[in-house]
Amino acid sequence: MNVSRELLMRYHDGAVSEEEAVAVEEALEHEPALLEELEAYSELGSFVRAWGEARSEQQFDIADSVLARIAAEEPARVRVASVHSIWPRVATWVSLGAAIAAGSVLVVRSWSAPPAGPRSAHPATAAEAVSAAPASTAVAPPDVSAALEEEPKDPPATIESVDFGQTNGTVFVVSTDSADTPVVWMPDDDQPDEDDEDRSESL
């Protein structure tokens, strides 16, 4: 019996009748070339299955990798959106700047409060400040009054100009606990006065 390639392939796949199977098996016994071709079909089938499995596995890998990348990029996109949005930053900086400015106003006011005048006026000043403020205890007025009480020492008398003439004089300040006193020091020169008489008794 002449066995065609088509029949051999169906035999290989198990899609033949009993008669066809008997015929193919008889032909295989007598024709070794058919047996080699059948073995080739088996190898080819194994190869195709292997290739198909590999292909399907590769497709799954690609899908998984794509999904993994999407999943990985999702949080990054969210983070990028929050970082590069400028308005929250602007709002934060404006608010912080305003807070710093307000703090500076407090400090400047405490420093630039009028130190002149009798000390008895300070409680009145503090009281007026408190009455002008809203009813709140968030900012304690005693800090301001305490700053007002620390008045700087009065500046000393000022030597605005001095002409020593022919004498070598110096100007310096003598500091004590109560005051700073400028001193004009003029050591006597060797030039005799016309009248060197002692007049201490006549004063």
Partner: protein, 178 residues
Amino acid sequence: MKRAWFALSSLVFALTLPAYAGGGRPAAAAAASGTTPAKAAPGPAAKPAAEDGFAAEVLILHATNDKRGIDARIGKLPELGKAPFSTYDSYQLVDRARLPLKKDEPQNLKLPNGRTFQVRLLEVAQKDAVRLSASINRPNGKEFLPLLEVKAHVGQAFIVAGQSYKKGILVLVIRVAK
């Protein structure tokens, strides 16, 4: 959202904080008017006070090393305990004078060494401060201290010292009074 809420809260806090400081202009103006009415209400009261009433109180001291201590009549003068005045152990009050400060009338005071101390009002700088000039002339008319201009508040003093006199020096303490 939290960031926006924080920013809004900080802004509200910053805008309302100065009001809580109690340093508003009305209060500050009231305080200033209570302590320095001349500054708060410019006008006739803001003009410098009349030159009448200012004076220069002059103490003439004789500093020596006679081991006699400080004359009790001098009163409290802590500068004498500081260098270079502390190099002398004795201070005697030679004279005391109160010279009225007037622009057109220089006031003279004879010193023990024969020289003349002269003082004159230049201007009333502030309500309680003056600018004055001082000089010391020799008996022959030559100048020893040609010119000294000082600005001082009432109660403040300056010292002119160093003239030789009887194994010591003269110390002139000039204090502005009113």
